[in-house]
């Protein structure tokens, strides 16, 4: 047995309780053969980063629908950087207005997948970015 599996943490930062989108993505990644660590609702950026590190994931997917993305997404990236774990890819999804996307990318979010994105696109993106990292 010698296989390198892509491991992804799917997390819900912030206070909204809508996790259907996060679950749809988690399920799609599972079906693509990834190992998906799902941490549940209302996680602080500190919790998300600690979990990402202990699970040694290749990527963290953040789902947020409450509007706090401009604070919470960059905060996760900042904490990863502080812990020397900025090689972990961060992507996001949820209700993110178009005009916020450039700012988030500038802060280090690799990609934002807004509602209506086919899950196959997320899978393809992660395969390209994480698949041949080793």
């Amino acid at each position: 047995m010698s296989e390198k599996k892509i491991r992804v943490l799917i997390a819900k930062p912030g206070l909204d309780g809508h996790d259907r989108g996060a679950k749809v993505v988690a399920r799609a990644l599972r079906d693509a053969g990834f190992e998906v660590i799902y941490t549940g609702l209302r996680q602080t950026p500190e919790q998300i980063v600690a979990a990402a590190i202990a699970e040694d994931v290749d990527a963290v997917g953040l789902s947020l629908l409450s509007g706090a993305h401009n604070y919470l997404f960059p905060r996760v990236i900042e904490l990863l950087r502080e812990q020397g774990a900025d090689d972990i890819l961060v992507f996001g999804g949820g209700v993110i207005p178009e005009e916020d996307i450039p700012g988030l990318k500038k802060a280090g979010v690799a990609e934002i997948f807004t509602p209506g994105t086919p899950t196959s696109e997320t899978v393809k993106f992660l395969r390209e970015r994480c698949g041949d990292k080793q």
Binding site: M1, S2, E3, K4, K5, A26, R27, L29, R30, D31, A32, G33, F34, E35, V36, I37, Y38, T39, G40, Q43, E46, Q47, A50, A51, I53, A54, E55, D56, Q83, G84, A85, Q134
Partner: protein, 320 residues
């Protein structure tokens, strides 16, 4: 992947969780990497107590793991948790969701949680579970909790991995005939009925006790406790009962026997793998085997006859 595993281990033992995580990924990768990691880690192992928690899906294993861990943290112990969830046999993917119940532990410096997929292994654990236990052990976690996948009736691999096995069940899963069937109920060193706030919990506990009295004398008095992990009721008592079971097994010499068996089986697995690689691989590539296959397929010679033929010609003592 080439890493300086020795340096990683030094960092991991100094409390760097990223390094611990990397070492576990190393054993999960398998092959030569797993070997290199274990070569480094092995001399530092053999100190931790390993508790297994098993039971059907939805019994509350993760919630209980969370509650028990808090209990041991209060006693100042460092706790490592391995939480196993099923890998899809169809896609190889997995949703590892045990952390959902352990959010409070995430930021505790003295707790390390790792989720693992079963990755094709039957029995309720992952192929890398024992390697991961050795790593947590070497990194100074005093107590390691291994939470199996939600098991049915026959996934008992945890018994080969843990010092003490807790079988967790819930009310309403079946009658007393279920309780005397072979399988996971045979491996319990102690039992707990979770969701004890629900109707029927007492009855389930009594059925378990009755089941135990029908069996071997030394198992007749095994503890059966009622808990409600989500309400944190009965957890301290369970914690204590688990420690007591450990001490009993230690005192009776049973623990030493189990640990010896476990190490023996770990060694045998490696010897078997090594023999297979060294003896079988060249055989399968050889022309003799191809010719034999042709005749065998034409129904000349039974599988036993051919096996005997090949085994007789294997060069056991050669340079390989």
């Amino acid at each position: 992947m080439n890493r300086d595993w020795g340096a990683l281990l030094t960092r991991a033992r100094a409390g760097d969780k990223r390094a611990v995580a990397r070492l576990i990924s190393g054993v999960e990768e398998g092959g030569g990497t797993a070997r290199t990691v274990l070569d480094q880690v092995w001399p530092q192992t053999g100190h931790a107590r390993v508790f297994g928690i098993t039971g059907p899906p939805g019994a509350g294993k993760s919630t209980l793991t969370d509650a028990l861990t808090k209990c041991w943290r209060q006693a100042g112990l460092r706790v490592g948790i391995l939480a196993v969830d099923p890998t899809s046999p169809f896609t190889g993917g997995a949703i590892l969701g045990d952390r959902v119940r352990m959010g409070d532990l995430t930021l505790d410096e003295g707790v390390f949680i790792r989720s693992m997929g079963t990755r094709g292994r039957l029995g309720g654990l992952s192929p890398a579970s024992s390697g991961a236990i050795h790593i947590l052990d070497a990194c100074g976690y005093d107590l390691i909790l291994v939470e199996t996948v939600g098991v049915g009736q026959s996934e008992v691999a945890v018994v080969e991995t843990a010092d003490v096995v807790l079988v967790l069940t819930v009310p309403g899963l079946g009658d007393d005939v279920q309780a005397i069937k072979a399988g996971i109920l045979e491996i319990g060193d102690l039992f707990a009925v979770n969701k004890a706030d629900r109707p029927g919990a007492d009855r389930t506990a009594n059925e378990l006790r009755t089941m135990l009295t029908l069996g071997e004398t030394e198992k007749r008095d095994l503890p059966v406790l009622l808990v409600s992990a989500a309400q944190n009721q009965g957890v301290a008592e369970l914690c204590q009962a688990m420690e007591q079971r450990f001490s009993q097994l230690e005192g009776s010499g049973e623990l030493a026997r189990r640990r010896e068996l476990r190490l023996r089986s770990e060694l045998l697995t490696q010897i078997r793998d090594g023999m297979e690689r060294r003896l079988l691989d060249p055989l399968l590539e050889g022309a003799d085997f191809q010719q034999a296959m042709e005749r065998f397929q034409a129904r000349q010679g039974s599988p036993y006859q051919w096996a005997e033929e090949f085994v007789r010609h294997i060069n056991m003592g050669g340079s390989g």
